[in-house]
Amino acid sequence: MKKWRFIVAMEFRKIFAYRSDFWVTFLGQTLLQLLVARALWQNIFESQGQTELNGFTLSTMTLYYLITSVGTKILAGENVGFISREIYDGTFTRYLIYPLSFLEYKTITYLTYSLFYSMHLSLIFLLYHLLFYPDQLTLITLANLTLGTGVFLLAAFAYAMMATLVELMALWAENIWSLMVMLRFLAFFFGGSFIPLDFFPAWALEILKYTPFPYLINLPVKTIMGQMDPIQVLQGAGILLFWIGFFRAAVLLLWKKGQLNYSGAGI
């Protein structure tokens, strides 16, 4: 536990070392994604002449995308290549002298980024009210925010395992960057980051139920918005735990086989 705390503190120091860079990128990306999504839905609402579509008003849709833009960072805040780069550079060997396992170290550093971004969830309320709805009372309670943040961190753990699985493919393949981008596309689209899953056709939702994707973004966002009852949240968290176990087992298997492929020379 002490070792974990030390790694988290060290990673936080790294993140804060590039403060100005971070804020320009983070705020720029968050605001941009939000403004573009809002403009699109505003146009759809206006052309339909309706104030509500599939249970969403323009204000709840805005909130949905605001949470999602931070949520995608919580899920995939750590850069592509967080393991594969070490394999390709041949710097993997240094972890042999670390007082904890390589996979444990990488998972903790990954989740530190998730923790860091999850702290920004409270910032979205400020943005939401300042920019769009200064007169409206918040739709979110502190209890839902806390619960949703917890679910987001669980989802980040599941995504970290999926990402680790893909990153470890670097022990065989000469470049896995494109595989990681594919994973992001699929997880974000089928997770409900581009369009809320409520707009997907019923047959697609039926299939998605058997994948981890809807629990990565849709579940935590809806939890924060108070659109999930406690039973649904518990069920969703249980399913996330199942996927974490499943991908963790796959990671360990791949790790065991892949280590034998590592030459230490890099490419």
């Binding site: 403004l35 573009v36 403009a39 146009n43 579509l53 369009i195």
Partner: protein
């Protein structure tokens, strides 16, 4: 001109032989772009399940727009993208010297040296989807409309290139490893939306200072809604200004280049 053409053919030869060395990566990258295309098409298909019109366009018209921005993206990925990836590193590490002393335009060399063979396969797929969307489009169009559309697509690709360069070139002054390129990639989503959804200051921003809405949306609008002199004039003026601004910043950047690495 002939010299540049010969040089470019050599770039092509080297790029293809390099791509063939890493066959698995070659396959992964093609697959990645196919997924990107499918996700983009699915995005609008899902939206049209709930509305007949978006920004005044029906699903067939929207598919022409989607095909347009996928085509422009594929053109840029094929011809410029890899070069744009390396440029900030060359500037930052002082490796630009090797390009400045060659007897060809450094801007030409640095922008076009790496031709992406994998993206070329995706460019063919994007062309296929573009043709499919045109065939399924119920409206009528003449050969002249189509020729103008192609010219505007090329112009859109050049706007994309200029904006990307303008986001990278601050590296000459900031000495960071990226410039504002992460922000540029995030802004790519503006290109993927019809310009008519933007209103007020956002519209002014995306059609002038950060003209992402001009890349694919204006060409599609001219093709789908008919020729409009004001839209063409707007497109021409912004494209020309952007090109001149990019050349100006490039020259100023070179004057500021110290060759020392950081």
């Amino acid at each position: 001109m002939n010299r540049y053409l010969r040089l470019y053919l050599n770039f092509l030869r080297f790029s293809f032989s390099k791509a063939m060395e890493f066959r698995l990566d070659f396959t992964f990258r093609i697959l990645m772009d196919i997924i990107y295309y499918v996700v983009n098409i699915a995005f609008f298909k899902v939206i049209y399940l709930h509305t007949p019109l978006v920004a005044g366009w029906n699903i067939d018209e929207m598919m022409i727009f989607v095909a347009t921005y996928l085509l422009i993206d594929a053109i840029n990925m094929t011809f410029f993208s890899t070069n744009m990836w390396w440029l900030p590193f060359f500037i930052n590490k002082g490796d630009l010297d090797y390009y400045l002393i060659r007897p060809v335009s450094p801007l030409f060399f640095l922008s076009l040296r790496e031709f992406s063979a994998t993206s070329f396969v995706n460019l063919l797929i994007a062309v296929g989807f573009f043709a499919y969307s045109l065939i399924n489009y119920p409206g009528t169009f003449s050969a002249v409309d189509l020729l103008l559309f192609f010219a505007l697509i090329i112009n859109g690709s050049l706007i994309y290139y200029c904006v990307q360069m303008l986001m990278i070139l601050p590296v000459f002054w900031t000495h960071s490893s990226k410039g504002f390129i992460d922000l540029f990639y995030s802004m790519g989503v503006v290109m993927e939306r019809p310009d008519r959804i933007f209103k007020g200051w956002l519209r002014i921003l995306f059609t002038t200072l950060l003209p992402f809405a001009l890349i694919a949306s204006f060409p599609s609008r001219i093709f789908l809604d008919g020729f409009d002199a004001m839209t063409m004039l707007h497109l021409f003026l912004v494209s020309l200004s952007l090109w001149l601004l990019m050349l100006f910043v490039w020259k100023k950047g070179l004057q500021n280049y110290s060759s020392a690495s950081s």
